[in-house]
């Protein structure tokens, strides 16, 4: 038998080989060579990190114990892979377009960049994966012990310890050598691809040796199978279904699977090959499990560990070389899993646990020196790898390495599957919220710990035996294996049933009850609709491909006919012979404009940009897209309101416009009136001054008369201009009032003497002096101007043979009224409405007034806080001036 030292040497040599391969691959990648490093084949092989030491050794043991049930571990992933078009494609696209670095990062990103969620997922992953790592250490230790002579227990302990250390070193060397923004590790991927080949070949070799070497061919093998202990189909339906589901969840949710499948993915199209090639790999690796188990059960002594048949069977037949190959295969399986898992977990720990804490302690001290942060990241990752491996080692020591390999693996699967509801919900349901995801995860996680993880430590391990049999505090329906009174189920099925169903129910219910914040909604939209606005797969280079992509997009948006017409038009413009134009900037601009008519500017820009620019859509673009769609979809009612508002505003505008037009017309009319009033006296002045100048032989009498006309008309002009100025000052509100105290009678005296002075017209004025002794406070000059105007009007227009004017003063409540009543015919009824308008001369008066007097009176009375109006129901002319009484009271 090979000595332990030989084994150690072989292991070290194998690791060294991996190291060299990995280093070469990194170098090739760094130099831009080695396209084959990024082939679908390498991608598929790297996925085989799914097949761990558990698969390599445990599957046979599993089959020896439970028959065909072990295939569920591979059927689940197979179903996920062949259904890639539904789920994985989206997952990979999102991972690439969002630059996701881990499963925790993905969930955090989807649910509004929530770090709390990331921390929760990280802890969940560490807790689930730790037993799994322990499992790998156990498989290495067990396999070592098979070769060991002497102290088997010590060999196991020592080899597990050194395996942990050695794997830690390898993971540190390759997982944390450099920091890549995309978290890709070419060296590691190549190394695990190589290991994938090794373990498959090893297992196939053992299988072929067993089937053709020991069992004597296929038909004999089948006969042996039927004759063995597991010779009949005997599978528990619940476990079959539950484990298939858990395995399907695991291939997506396991941190190491997410790492190789999403994060390390070089090209989305690799999935297409992996979709059938990886199931093929799984099929091959599980193909000989049953024969090996059956032959092992047959040939090996009773009581030997079926988990080690792969090793012990060739060894017992004296085929040491094959045993060594099998050992290396098992070693490969275990190492690749530990390396990738430790790496993936260390990324999560450093990104979501260490960095937030580090950055928060550095806030305010300006620690954004990139070198600093980089070092912190690298160191935290290295420490995390060591800690995770140590955790795995201690778990191994604690559990005593006794439990069957498969059982530990299933516990890890059930734990990691708790991520599934939040993940699937996040990918396909926009309504999923952070609160929902957190609640679901917490409930599922807690139930998993209580119903599977803690009981897994064995009786009186973590939970007292009494809790297991009677429930905590004697509450029977809380027994870990009999929750809510459902007993008799297999622990795995029981745990998966309760944890996953309550997890999902809580996730959905809380999501429906809570409202996501804007970032969450934006991220939700981006995730769920990732194919609508993310970068296409790589490799679409060349202008024709671009034009074609543009064409496809345009067809979807504009409709096939319009799109084709547009492209043909543009192609003709470019002078291109084909139907597709070159994607020149001008063509792209045109297209973007066309598209923006249908989908909005930001959307069009983002869509065109992602095809032509080849770059990921910026956050601003997506924000704009979100805004647009939000406006279009969610606030359409608001838009309707706005359009109603717009209609109202338009109506108001029309009204205002009409008013303006009216005012403009009034202004025209006013100017035309002013022109007329100015030109008329000027006509007389000019005509007579020309007569005086040109006509000889005018009599002195004539000359005097014509000069008099000129003088009168000049005065009329002056009056007119005075009135116009007065009116414009009053109307503009710029008049300053000179408020004084005085008696009404005094103001009337002044007005009468001014109005009647130098006049030949006789008019009798009636007054009652006892009424006029009221003290008033106002602009007395302006008030007198109003009175003068009214008295002059009466004098000019009173057509009675004996003109009489009665001035009547009355106090009416808080107002003081002064009426001017004459005994003439008054203002005609139909002209009364206009009497206070500008140029509203009632009759064809020749008295030289411009028709502005009453308009001025009205303006003055408004300024003085009073009013002036024409009194109906009086036979003659009748004007009433109203003054506010407060002025009068104050003066008393």
């Amino acid at each position: 038998m090979a000595s332990l030292n030989t084994l150690v040497a072989i292991c070290l040599g194998y690791v060294a080989l991996l190291f060299v391969v990995a280093a070469l691959a990194e170098r090739a990648a760094a130099m831009g060579r080695g396209q084959w490093l990024r082939s679908p084949l390498i991608y598929t092989l790297s996925l085989s990190v799914y097949c761990t030491g558990w698969t390599f050794y445990g599957a046979v043991g599993y089959a020896a114990r439970s028959g065909l049930e072990y295939v569920t571990i591979y059927i689940g992933p197979t179903l996920v892979m062949i259904g890639w078009w539904w789920g994985l494609r989206k997952l990979v696209r999102i991972g690439r377009s969002q630059r996701v670095t881990s499963i925790a990062d993905l969930l955090s990103s989807r649910y509004g960049k929530s770090n709390l969620l990331a921390i929760g997922v990280t802890i969940l992953c560490v807790m689930s994966v730790t037993p799994y790592i322990a499992l790998q250490l156990q498989s290495i230790a067990l396999s070592m012990s098979v070769f060991a002579e002497g102290d088997v227990a010590r060999t196991k302990a020592v080899s597990a310890f050194w395996a942990a250390i050695g794997l830690g070193v390898f993971a540190i060397l390759f997982g944390t050598r450099n920091l890549d923004a995309n978290e890709r590790h070419h060296g590691v991927v190549i190394a695990i691809a190589l290991e994938a080949v090794v373990k498959l070949l090893a297992l196939l070799a053992v299988g072929i040796f067993v089937v053709w070497g020991l069992a004597g061919g296929i038909s004999d093998t089948l006969a042996r199978i039927d004759a063995s202990e597991i010779g009949q189909w005997e599978v528990d339906g619940g476990r079959w279904t539950a484990i298939t589901l858990l395995a399907a969840a695991a291939i997506i949710c396991l941190p190491r699977m997410f790492q190789v499948m999403v994060v390390e993915n070089e090209d989305e199209r690799h999935l297409r090959v992996a979709a059938w090639a990886f199931p093929l790999y799984l099929l091959l690796i599980s193909l000989f499990v049953i024969p090996i188990a059956v032959v092992g059960l047959d040939l090996m002594p009773a009581g030997s560990n079926p988990d080690l048949f792969v090793l012990s069977l060739p060894l017992s037949q004296g085929n040491e070389g094959l045993a060594m190959l099998a050992f290396i295969g098992g070693f490969s399986s275990a190492t690749s899993m530990v390396i990738v898992a430790a790496m993936a977990l260390s990324i999560m720990v450093s990104n979501h646990l260490v960095m937030p804490i580090y950055l928060s302690t550095k806030v305010g001290r300006g620690a954004s020196i990139s070198g600093d942060v980089r070092n912190v990241v690298l160191i935290s990752r290295r420490v995390a790898i060591v800690v995770i491996l140590m955790l795995g080692y201690f778990y191994y020591r604690l559990s005593g390495g006794g439990a069957a390999l498969a059982a530990i693996g299933l516990i890890a699967f059930a734990g990691i599957a708790q991520i599934l509801p939040a993940l699937v919900g996040g990918l396909f349901w926009r309504g999923a919220t952070r609160a929902g995801a957190l609640t679901g995860l917490s409930i599922g996680f807690a139930l998993w710990i209580y119903t599977l993880l803690l009981p897994g430590f064995g009786a009186d391990g973590a939970l007292a035996a009494s809790v297991m049999t009677d429930g905590p505090f004697g509450i029977g329906w809380l027994r870990p294996y009999g929750l809510f009174g459902i007993t008799g189920l297999d622990p795995i099925v029981h745990s998966a049933l309760w944890s996953l169903s309550l997890n999902t129910a809580a996730f959905i219910a809380v999501s429906m009850m809570t409202f996501p914040n804007p970032v969450e909604r934006l991220q939700g939209a981006q995730f769920v609709n990732v194919f609508d606005h993310s970068m296409g797969p790589r490799g679409w280079t060349g202008s024709v491909a671009q034009s074609e992509d543009l064409m496809i997009m345009a067809q979807r948006i504009l409709g096939p006919e319009e799109a084709r017409a547009l492209f043909q038009r543009e192609a003709a413009k470019q002078g291109a012979r084909g139907q597709l134009p070159e994607p020149t900037p001008s063509f792209v601009d045109t297209l973007e404009r066309e598209l923006s008519g249908s989908v909005g500017t930001a959307t069009a820009h983002a869509m065109v940009g992602q095809i032509v620019g080849g770059s990921a859509v910026s956050v601003q673009d997506l924000m704009a897209v979100a805004d647009e769609s939000a406006q279009m979809l969610e606030y359409s009612s608001q838009l309707e309101t706005k359009s109603a508002e717009l209609t109202r505003t338009a109506a108001k505008l029309r009204e205002a416009n009409e008013k303006l037009t009216q005012i403009s017309l009034q202004k025209d009319a006013f100017l035309s009136q002013v022109s007329h009033e100015l030109r008329t006296p000027m006509t007389s002045i000019r005509a007579f001054s020309e007569i005086l100048r040109d006509e000889a032989g005018l009599s002195g009498d004539e000359k005097e008369r014509y000069a008099g006309v000129i003088h009168d008309e000049a005065l009329r002009l002056t009056r007119l201009l005075d009135d116009l100025l007065d009116l414009s000052v009053l109307e503009s509100g710029q008049v300053s009032l000179n408020t004084r105290g005085g008696t009404l009678g005094h103001v009337l005296d002044r007005a009468l003497s001014a109005a009647l002075a130098g006049s030949s017209d006789r008019i009798t004025v009636h007054r009652r002096a006892e009424d006029e002794g009221i003290a008033i406070r106002s602009d007395l000059d302006r008030l007198a101007q109003v009175f003068i105007n009214l008295i002059s009007n009466a004098r000019k227009y009173c057509d009675a043979p004996q003109p009489e004017l009665t001035i009547r003063v009355r106090a009416l409540g808080d107002r003081l009224t002064v009426d001017f009543l004459d005994n003439g015919s008054g203002v005609p009824r139909d002209a009364r409405a206009l009497v206070f308008e500008k140029f509203a001369r009632v009759s064809g008066d020749k008295a030289g007034g411009a028709g502005l007097g009453l308009a001025i009176c009205r303006e003055i009375m408004e300024r003085l806080g009073g009013d002036i109006l024409y009194l109906d129901g009086h036979s003659g002319g009748a004007f009433r001036v109203i003054l506010p009484m407060e002025g009068a009271m104050a003066a008393q």
């Binding site: 022109s675 007329h676 100015l678 030109r679 007389s684 002045i685 020309e690 007569i691 064809g844 020749k846």
Partner: protein
């Protein structure tokens, strides 16, 4: 032979100035100050020429002109129109209505005399 002009105008001073001018030139000047019955006055007086103000009490000069042009007896009677409003729109309207001459106040005396003489000469030629 006596030439007869009818001046339809409401401003007394302007009436006096034009009457002075035209009578010195040998015209017999009739005046009328109201727009309302101006057309009847034209028919009654039967002048060789009408000087018509635009803004008249009772009826606008434009309406009077249209009536004159509509009636067969006065359809080609020479009309000189005067206006103090000075808007080009008024001139357009008057020309459309068939005015012979259009003058804006204030006018020069010689211009009025020349225009009146021209109008009469044109009327005689036809």
């Amino acid at each position: 032979m006596s030439r007869k002009v009818l001046l339809i105008e409401d401003e007394l001073n302007i009436i006096e100035a034009i009457r002075f001018l035209l009578s010195r030139d040998g015209w017999t000047v009739h005046t009328h100050a109201n727009g309302a019955d101006a057309v009847e006055e034209v028919i009654r007086v039967a002048p060789d020429l009408v000087v018509l103000d635009m803004m008249l009490p009772g009826r606008s000069g434009m309406d009077i002109l249209r009536d004159l042009r509509a009636a067969p007896a006065t359809s080609d009677l020479p009309v000189l129109m005067l206006t103090a409003r000075g808007q080009s729109r008024d001139r357009d309207m008057a020309e459309k209505a068939g005015v012979n001459r259009f003058m804006t106040k204030p006018f020069s005396n010689s211009e009025v005399l020349e225009t009146v003489r021209d109008l009469l000469a044109e009327a005689r030629q036809e």
